[in-house]
């Protein structure tokens, strides 16, 4: 048993810290740490810095411009970047469609799309869920019919995260209605500027525009945009979902959120004393911190097993459930910590450039909204119920 980093791993951590000290823009880090909104430009600016460092594509082979990090190195990056306030990477291009293109795409597709992902020229979004196909993804109905050199696509996708910024979407479409649901699905790459595509915002309960509906009406997609073989898309989709699931536990994000909570609870008063000194509240914080400690070690156990050549299986599903519950608990406590000030929704204070007086705490404005927004954590990426189904089937054999 050895739970320490090796000398090389420690050196890598120093390298990461030196890079973040030097290159992470302070305004972006402040937004991330204060749970403020990030603009498209913020994301692009940071992506460019990462790309220049060669650290953007950590899931890709080196020949395509990726960096070959070990699972432990990826973990170190995750920990440090969350601690520093690095923006969450928008995964749809670099971590989702790219691995599929690398594994199942043809040479032309690799040459065309991968450099554009690295450079930030393409912003990808995901066309998986549909109004009638959520947890039961295979029941999707968006239809693609081959006509000469094109597919004609008709249907609707939903919950398309940041689709309003995207110029490309990867879609699961139905190309065969005669066979079993899973066997008639294809994986298509679609230019969002093609005539017939409409993006409609979905405003969430916190008033944010993060997700969208995407409508397809007689959209002509060249056949060369098909990845792999027709009707084999489900295999590729599942491959992609394994990439989506890793990291959904959000251990690093929870650690950062916990730190934020403790600072907040040190500033807020109850009975004339800092809230963090209140017995009941400090015990609530302690409980979630202990849960997080355990989950962090579980996460490391999975990482170490992968490092040793193992394949992460249903354990990541267990961790997704635990990790998201922990983050939601931290958000719950942060909302509680501001007491009655959870009620006002002072939108102007969400802007970092806000120079008026803060109604209560400078970090209070986003807290209730964030609590509501992060109810999504137990819903997206495969709802926690679906994750438990996976565990009971794959691990328990039930």
């Amino acid at each position: 048993m050895n739970m320490n980093y090796t000398a090389e791993e420690l050196a890598f951590r120093d390298e990461v810290r030196a890079f973040l000290d030097k290159k992470l823009p302070a305004d972006i880090a402040a937004k991330v740490k204060g749970f403020r909104r990030l603009s498209k430009e913020d994301h692009q600016r940071w992506q460019k810095i990462l790309s220049e460092q060669g650290w953007y594509a950590t899931h890709w082979p080196e020949e395509y411009g990726g960096v070959k990090w070990t699972p432990v190195q990826k973990h170190i990056w995750d920990e440090e970047s969350c601690r520093y306030g690095v923006p969450r990477s928008i995964p749809f291009g670099v971590n989702m469609v790219a691995p599929v293109i690398i594994k199942f795409g043809n040479e032309e597709q690799k040459q065309r799309y991968l450099p554009r992902i690295l450079s930030g020229e393409d912003w990808w979004c995901q066309g998986y869920s549909e109004p009638g196909a959520g947890s039961d993804l295979a029941s999707l109905k968006t239809r693609a019919v081959r006509e000469g050199d094109h597919y004609i696509v008709n249907g609707q996708k939903t919950w398309t995260t940041l689709g309003q910024h995207a110029n490309m979407i990867f879609c699961l479409v139905r190309t065969n209605t005669e066979v079993k649901a899973q066997e008639g699905i294809s994986f298509l790459l679609i230019d969002m500027n093609t005539p017939g595509i409409t993006v409609r915002p979905i405003i969430t309960l916190d008033g944010e525009h993060e997700v969208n509906e995407v409508f397809f009406e007689d959209v002509k997609v060249p056949v060369e945009n098909l990845v792999g073989e027709e009707d084999k898309g489900w295999t590729y989709a599942k491959y992609l979902l394994t990439y989506e699931r890793t990291g959904l536990a959000g251990i690093g994000l929870s650690k950062a959120a916990l730190q934020h909570l403790k600072e907040l609870a040190s500033r807020r008063l109850k009975n004339g004393k800092p809230l963090i000194e209140d017995t009941a509240f400090s015990q609530r914080i302690a409980k979630v911190e202990i849960d997080l400690m355990a989950a962090a070690i579980s996460n490391l156990r999975i990482i170490a097993s992968v490092e040793g050549g193992g394949v992460p299986g249903a354990e990541s599903s267990m961790l997704k459930v635990r990790g998201t519950e922990i983050r939601q608990s931290i958000n719950d406590l942060a909302r509680r910590a501001i007491g009655p000030y959870a009620i006002p929704f002072v939108e102007e204070e969400l802007d970092l450039d806000y120079d008026g007086d803060y109604l209560s705490d400078e970090n209070a404005a986003p807290l209730a909204a964030q609590y509501f927004n992060n109810r999504k954590l137990s819903i997206f990426g495969g709802s926690n119920e679906i994750q438990k189904n996976i565990v009971s089937k794959m691990i328990l054999g039930l």
Binding site: S139, T204, L205, R284, P340, I343, P344, V346
Partner: protein, 380 residues
């Protein structure tokens, strides 16, 4: 023993229900919420015309002489409609404080208007440092001539943006957390030195923080005995808790109905998702929480108008604790049962979910009342 409303109480609740059905829809509520006033002036007028804003006041002052049970019936229906009018603030709290502690002249001056809805009141009882403890008051009242000068800040005054009169607590003596030394004052909205910072609330209403900068009021602004307001405030906050419990039950009823309906109609894997046992059990748990909350709401209403006692304190703390926990459970589990659709602005469930969480942030959350209950437990 009979837990049902009597005929008159049932008629009252039906009246409110009809009014809400006729005036409120999800779409209209969004419009009301986005307007400058932040609610429906028309609806408010109708509450007045039908005598609903007069429910808790004595008959000789133009009221209906209703008890906590009647107030709760009104609040339950307002909760079902997710109504954002400041009924709790103006009628139950503002009017209630005046009714409880005011002298004849003050009652005469204010209660008629509040009971008819023509005058709106709001209450400033919390402060930035008070964290639900209504005895934690830093706002100062200093004697000046015949009257007082008020300085300080009152937090999260729901409905304060449109109130004609504000009932605020201020300290005439004692230290920040002392029960002794707190007074209540009636401050007109147009008083010199009174500033309001108005904001929308996350659950669709409007409120403000009050900044009192050398606000001068006359002796007639003092509500009740000087320095002795803590008990008055505690008593009225208890009535408001009972009322808020009623609202919460209404909100929870609809949240549960919407979730159950969704489980029946939403299909995945070829069957309604309500066929999955994990969702069935969750729905059962939500209903159990609702019933627990309903029981505590009934209990709270039954003691709302009783003389103050540790028993009354215990029951109201227990009720607010249960309401807070049940509300959060139903809110979170309801969203989870709906999936993504439960998180959208366009679908009404999310708005019920938000209201339930915010009810927990009014008049003390479940932690606050658990602690309060525990303290009273030791005392008994």
């Amino acid at each position: 023993m009979d837990f049902r409303l009597n005929e008159e109480q049932q008629m009252l609740q039906d009246t409110v229900a009809r009014l809400v059905r006729g005036e409120y829809s999800f779409e209209k509520r969004l419009e009301f919420s986005e307007s400058d006033l932040g609610f429906s002036e028309h609806f408010w007028k109708q509450l007045g015309e039908l005598g609903l804003t007069a429910v808790p006041f004595p008959e000789e002052l133009g009221g209906f002489g209703g008890t906590g049970v009647e107030v709760q019936s009104v609040m339950t229906e307002l909760g079902r409609g997710l109504c954002i009018e400041p009924y709790l603030q103006s009628v139950v709290l503002g009017g209630g404080l005046i009714s409880q502690a005011g002298n004849d002249q003050q009652k005469e001056q204010w209660l008629g208007g509040i009971a008819s809805g023509e005058t709106r009141a709001a209450v400033g009882l919390q402060e930035p440092q008070s964290f639900y403890d209504l005895n934690n008051v830093e706002t100062r009242a200093e004697k000046s001539g015949d009257g007082y000068v008020l300085n300080g800040r009152k937090s999260v005054v729901i409905g304060g943006h449109c109130a004609d009169v504000l009932v605020v607590s201020a300290r005439i003596g004692g230290d920040t957390q002392d029960a002794d030394g707190i007074s209540l004052f009636l401050v007109r909205a147009d008083a010199e030195g009174l500033e309001r910072r108005t904001y929308p609330t996350i659950d669709g209403a409007k409120g403000c923080d009050l900044f009192l900068n050398n606000v001068t009021v006359g002796a007639d602004a003092l509500l009740g005995a000087e320095g002795k307001a803590a008990e008055v405030i505690e008593y009225q906050a208890g009535r408001a808790i009972a009322a808020l419990c009623g609202e919460a039950v209404g909100v929870m009823e609809v949240a549960c109905d919407l979730t159950l309906e969704y489980l029946k109609q939403r299909k995945q894997f070829g069957v309604p998702i309500g066929r999955f046992q994990v969702l069935q059990h969750r729905m059962v748990d939500m209903m159990s929480e609702l019933e627990q909350a309903r029981s505590m709401a009934i209990l709270a209403a039954s003691v709302a108008d009783e003389p103050q006692s540790d028993e009354r304190r215990r029951i109201l703390a227990a009720a607010k604790n249960v309401i807070g926990r049940s509300g959060q459970f139903i809110s979170e589990q309801g969203i989870q049962s709906h999936g993504g659709i439960g998180m959208t602005w366009e679908y009404n469930f999310a708005h019920y979910a938000k209201r339930l969480i915010m009810i927990n942030h009014q008049l003390g959350d479940d932690d606050f009342h658990l602690e309060r209950y525990a303290t009273l437990l030791q005392a008994s």
